[in-house]
């Protein structure tokens, strides 16, 4: 195994920290050095909290020196998507309108990270207010895919995926409204889970679409993902929609990696036409590997999935148009004054600020949502979309009668080039066709690497879906598949990624 700490799994880091073979400060500094060396080219971070993260690491080391009881993950550093409120750290959501906003409070999941003693390296880039599949809609410029810097790292959580794939953090927090954890994982050769809706508190996540948003763990291995899931999951009295039940046994499931007797459902509607050949090929191989590991395969039919994208693009903009109304320059964030107006009214300041503060994609969705909720159109749009949502949930219910988990490629293609789909919103939206149904139904989903597409040598993703609150099944299946694939590849997929050119202070270890 390598001596470069940043290439270790989070599980190994936690283990070495517990054995006092390494210190949290040493581990954190290694990541800060790595960030200094490569983030100039990858641009994963919007903000790095060098002072804060080292202080947090030192506190863990001190506590360990005093033989205090520490969380198993204490000292393992983490990156947090910039949509999550962090007290004292800038939180912009990739938007100009929140430039300069320093939240006075922590999201519940951040409180949990801090309680576990996990030092927070910084905030990761994202499409503005999580609207996009590429980070190209970030007001602060796109992040890049470590496999090919000319390509997108997925979105909206491209900062969190690229930070893992470029070893600038072992773990990251993502949020997934229509695939923003899973699609970035898919195109960067990393792992990400969207937990069951309500499984991780939404308190402190700047809302995109409240009924779809879900925060979740991102990592390089299935076990690491489970370890992080266990830290951030659980009931939160501050989130009325959070589930009042213990966190599913995700770590134990990941360790068991047992799929014997499990029924794997291949969703007919989520493969074949529209899916890149290499993506489909790696998917088929992965299914075969699961059969080898003792699972059985059935094909399941989810006829209403064909309406998922349409319903999603009504529900999401509707909720977003209301959620984003609070950005009005009155209390925080950007304030722009209208040009040529001597004594502007509050309304004029609001309008001017929203005009310059929001990007094109955000405006597009606010307009769509405002329209869909308008009187006279509500039933035809928002109302219909909610009906489709129920039908999709019914499709899932029926499918889970014959299958324990459902599987599909995570995204139809490998990473596309930066700029390639920027002018074609519909093509961009199609990236989420396989991930969106899980958000509409509130069920958990995971993406993990299934290999490289032959035609372009880029990572492909394998999606696993489970019934609501059965998140542990994702980890059992994911871990089994990962074990088979890694033994085939002779190591982690990311070891095949090109070496990034580094600048400055990277220290070889």
């Amino acid at each position: 195994m390598t001596n470069d700490l940043t290439r270790w799994s989070a599980a190994r880091m936690a283990d070495s920290l517990a054995r006092r073979e390494i210190s949290a400060v040493e581990l954190t500094q290694a990541h800060l050095d790595r960030i200094a060396a490569v983030d100039g080219s990858v641009h994963s971070y919007l903000h790095v909290d060098e002072t804060g993260v080292l202080a947090q690491a030192r506190a863990v080391d001190d506590a360990r020196a005093r033989n205090e009881d520490l969380h198993v993950m204490a000292g393992v550093p983490i990156a947090v998507k910039d949509v999550v409120a962090t007290e004292g750290l800038p939180t912009t959501c990739g938007s100009r309108i929140l430039s300069g906003w320093i939240p006075p409070y922590d999201a519940t999941l951040v409180t949990k990270l801090k309680a576990a003693g996990m030092p927070i390296l910084g905030k990761t880039n994202m499409d503005e207010f999580a609207m996009g599949s590429s980070t190209e809609h970030s007001a602060y410029g796109p992040s890049r895919n470590p496999w090919d810097l000319e390509r997108i790292p997925g979105g909206s959580g491209g900062g969190s995926s690229s930070v893992l794939a470029s070893f600038q953090a072992p773990l990251a927090i993502g949020t997934d409204t229509g695939g923003s954890i899973r699609q970035p994982a898919s195109v960067t050769g990393t792992v990400g889970t969207k937990p069951t809706y309500g499984g991780v508190s939404r308190y402190g996540l700047v809302a995109l679409a409240s009924s779809l948003d879900q925060a979740g763990p991102c990592a390089r291995t299935v076990l690491d993902t489970a370890l992080l899931h266990a830290v951030i999951g659980g009931y939160d009295p501050r989130d009325s929609t959070s589930i009042h039940a213990p966190v599913p046994e995700v770590v134990r499931a990941a360790q068991s990696a047992d799929v014997s007797g499990m029924r794997i459902g291949v969703v007919k509607q989520l493969s074949g036409e529209g899916y890149q050949a290499g993506v489909q090929a790696r998917f088929n191989e992965a299914v075969a590997l699961l059969v080898d590991a003792g699972a059985t395969v059935v094909e399941v039919d989810c006829p209403n999935f064909q309406y998922a994208l349409a319903a999603y693009y009504l529900i999401l903009p509707s909720e977003a148009s209301s959620n984003l109304a609070r950005f009005d320059a009155m209390r925080y964030g950007l304030r722009a004054l209208p040009e040529g107006v001597d004594d502007p009214s509050a309304e004029q300041v609001m309008a001017a600020t929203r005009e310059v503060g929001f990007g094109a994609e955000v405006k597009r969705r606010i307009i769509l949502g405002t329209y869909a909720l308008s009187s006279g159109y509500y039933d035809a749009y928002y109302g219909q979309a909610q009906k489709v949502r129920r039908l999709i949930a019914q499709d899932f219910d029926r499918a889970f009668e014959v299958a324990d988990v459902l599987v599909s490629p995570t995204a139809p293609t490998t990473a596309f080039k930066i700029g390639e789909k920027l002018d074609d919103p519909l093509a961009m939206y199609l990236n989420d066709v396989a991930t969106i149904p899980a958000n509409l139904a509130g069920i958990p989903g995971m993406s993990l690497p299934s290999g490289l597409a032959t035609e372009d040598g880029l990572p492909t993703g394998f999606q696993i879906l489970a019934p609501a609150t059965k998140d542990e099944r994702l980890y059992a299946v994911g871990s089994a598949l990962e074990r088979e694939l890694v033994s085939r590849w002779g190591g982690h997929l990311l070891e095949k990624a090109p070496t990034l050119a580094t600048v400055g202070a990277e220290v070889a270890r």
Partner: protein, 519 residues
């Protein structure tokens, strides 16, 4: 639905033409709709843990949730829901087994999220009624459409400019202490058939509702502090000669009058709007659907913002909250906590206290039922309690524009005062002086009477001497009494009282005079 833009956009207009009341009633039939907002007296806000105390330092009772900071989420105040259900039950409403909050979307600086969390097509309570009585004892039933929960907005203060409104102001300040305070909005059905009694019914409805809410203990219902607010919708339609045909006439265009901040204003504002509508309609004009602004001082309404049906709040179910689904058992448990309905309760108390209709009306108008009840409970005679609370204390409260409860005298003190009078220690004028002392903070009635040396002299020795003196000095009056003109005793009593500096028991003086004169 709570609004505030009207206040700020209202422009002062000139005086508009009105018809006389008789002309109005002769030609038109009114239709009313009353919307009452009640601030609940919960300790914390509707969706966060911030305190709700009135009058705190601006923006001192706020948190990420009620400031609508990015990422914050609401959590329903269970006490607020309980209050809403109890109000619904007390208004004879059906309680929804399942209801949701909805977002009402519009932009305004005093609304932190730029949407108000309210209820729309799924209110927690609907289809009820409240019986009210007018001063002459005639009874009316007011049908309730719905009662729903929502959060209050912040409060804007427009600084500079002449009107205190946003137009012409130099700048505006916003206080978010009120943002998120739980409100219940109670909406009547369109109220028809009240004819010329409509303004009185409107007032009686708000008064009865206020008493009911006070009895429920869910709100301090102070109109002047805004914890009870009423918007009055008024429209007129042509009067039919045959009353049974009246229901067939379609409703006219309505106006919504805001800023109606006292019971008296409710009646006056409705009356004014009716006469104003009548003048417009009689002149061949049509009523503009708009918000009107009531001016207590001048007794007129002025045009606010035009309000068309096209106003679009883009309501949709609040995705951050789960539905409210009270069990049948929990609803019944709350029903068991309901107080007696106000009208029944008044009738019962009137019987128990032996008040005449007129006396009871004075008590009601003084808002003194609860306080008299407490005073009687503290040992006062019902007559004594009434005399003080709806008499002298009410008069002074009115003068100072204060509530009876804020006068600095407790039911217990009034009971003590009454006991001093009943026991013969004080007469009326002395008792009034003692009241002065209590209100001035000099202590409780017994202590004030002692300190001020107020007590009737009933010691026969001292009184007897004074009586003897007066009899000796007025042989002619004595003669008159002896010859059967008993009323002449009054003059003797007066002289004795004068000699005793008022501190004598007049009844005892009369007895002594009669004894000595021997008639």
């Amino acid at each position: 639905m709570s609004e505030h833009t009207s206040d700020d956009l209202a422009l002062d207009g000139g005086t508009e033409a009105v018809l006389t009341w008789d002309e109005t009633i002769a030609a038109y039939d009114p239709v009313l709709g009353l919307e009452v907002h009640v601030e609940l007296g919960t300790a914390t806000k509707m969706f966060c843990g911030c305190p709700t105390e009135f009058g705190a330092e601006p923006n001192s009772q706020v948190c990420p949730v009620c400031l609508g900071l990015p990422g914050s989420l609401p959590v329903v105040n269970e006490k607020g829901v309980e209050s809403a259900i109890r109000i619904g039950l007390a208004l004879n409403c059906t309680i929804a087994p399942w209801s949701r909050f909805a977002r009402k979307n519009y932009f305004y600086p005093d609304m932190p999220k730029n949407f108000q969390t309210s209820q729309y097509d799924e209110p927690i309570a609907f289809n009820g009624w409240l019986d009210v009585e007018l001063e002459d004892g005639s009874a009316y039933r007011v049908e309730i459409e719905r009662a729903h929960m929502e959060e209050d907005t912040g409060k804007s203060l427009h600084v500079g400019g002449a009107t205190g409104r946003i137009h012409g102001a130099d700048y505006s300040l916003v206080d978010y202490n009120r943002a998120g305070i739980p409100l219940i909005e109670i909406v009547t059905k369109p109220l028809t058939g009240f004819g010329d009694r409509a303004p009185e019914v409107a007032k009686a409805y708000v008064a009865t509702l206020r008493d009911l809410l006070r009895a429920l203990g869910v709100s301090d219902v102070k109109m002047e502090q805004g914890s009870l607010r009423c918007d009055a919708n008024v429209s007129l339609r042509p009067r039919k000669k045959k009353p049974e045909k009246q229901a067939e006439v379609p409703f006219g265009t309505r106006t919504e009058t805001k800023n109606v901040n006292s019971l008296r204003s409710v009646e006056r504002a409705v009356r004014y709007e009716m006469t104003r509508h009548a003048a417009v309609l009689a002149g061949g004009g049509s009523i503009l659907q708009e918000t009107r602004h009531w001016h207590e001082d001048t007794g007129v309404t002025t045009s606010g913002r035009e309000k068309s049906d096209a106003e679009d709040y883009r309501y949709f179910p609040e995705p951050d909250l789960v539905p409210i689904a009270p069990t049948a058992d929990s609803i019944e448990a709350l029903r068991a906590t309901l107080p007696e309905p106000p009208v029944q309760r008044r009738r019962r108390l009137q019987g128990e206290w032996g008040y005449s209709d007129l006396e009871m009306r004075d008590v009601i108008n003084a808002g003194a039922i609860e306080i008299i009840e407490a005073t009687v409970a503290a040992g006062a005679t019902p007559a004594g309690a009434r005399k003080w609370w709806s008499g002298e204390i009410a008069r002074r409260a009115n003068l100072d524009g204060r509530e009876l409860t804020d006068m600095g005298i407790t039911p217990r003190a009034v009971a003590e005062l009454d006991a001093l009078v009943q026991g013969g220690r004080l007469n009326d004028s002395m008792a009034r002086q003692v009241l002065d002392g209590v209100l001035a903070g000099e202590g409780n009635p017994g202590a004030v009477a002692d300190a001020r040396g107020l007590a009737l002299v009933s010691d026969d020795g001292a009184l007897g001497a004074a009586v003897d003196e007066v009899i000796a000095a007025n042989p002619d009056l004595v003669e008159k009494i002896r010859s059967g003109k008993v009323q002449a005793a009054g003059a003797l009593i007066g002289q004795v009282m004068k000699a005793m500096a008022g501190q004598a028991d007049a009844a005892r003086v009369r007895e002594l005079i009669m004894e000595r004169v021997g008639s």
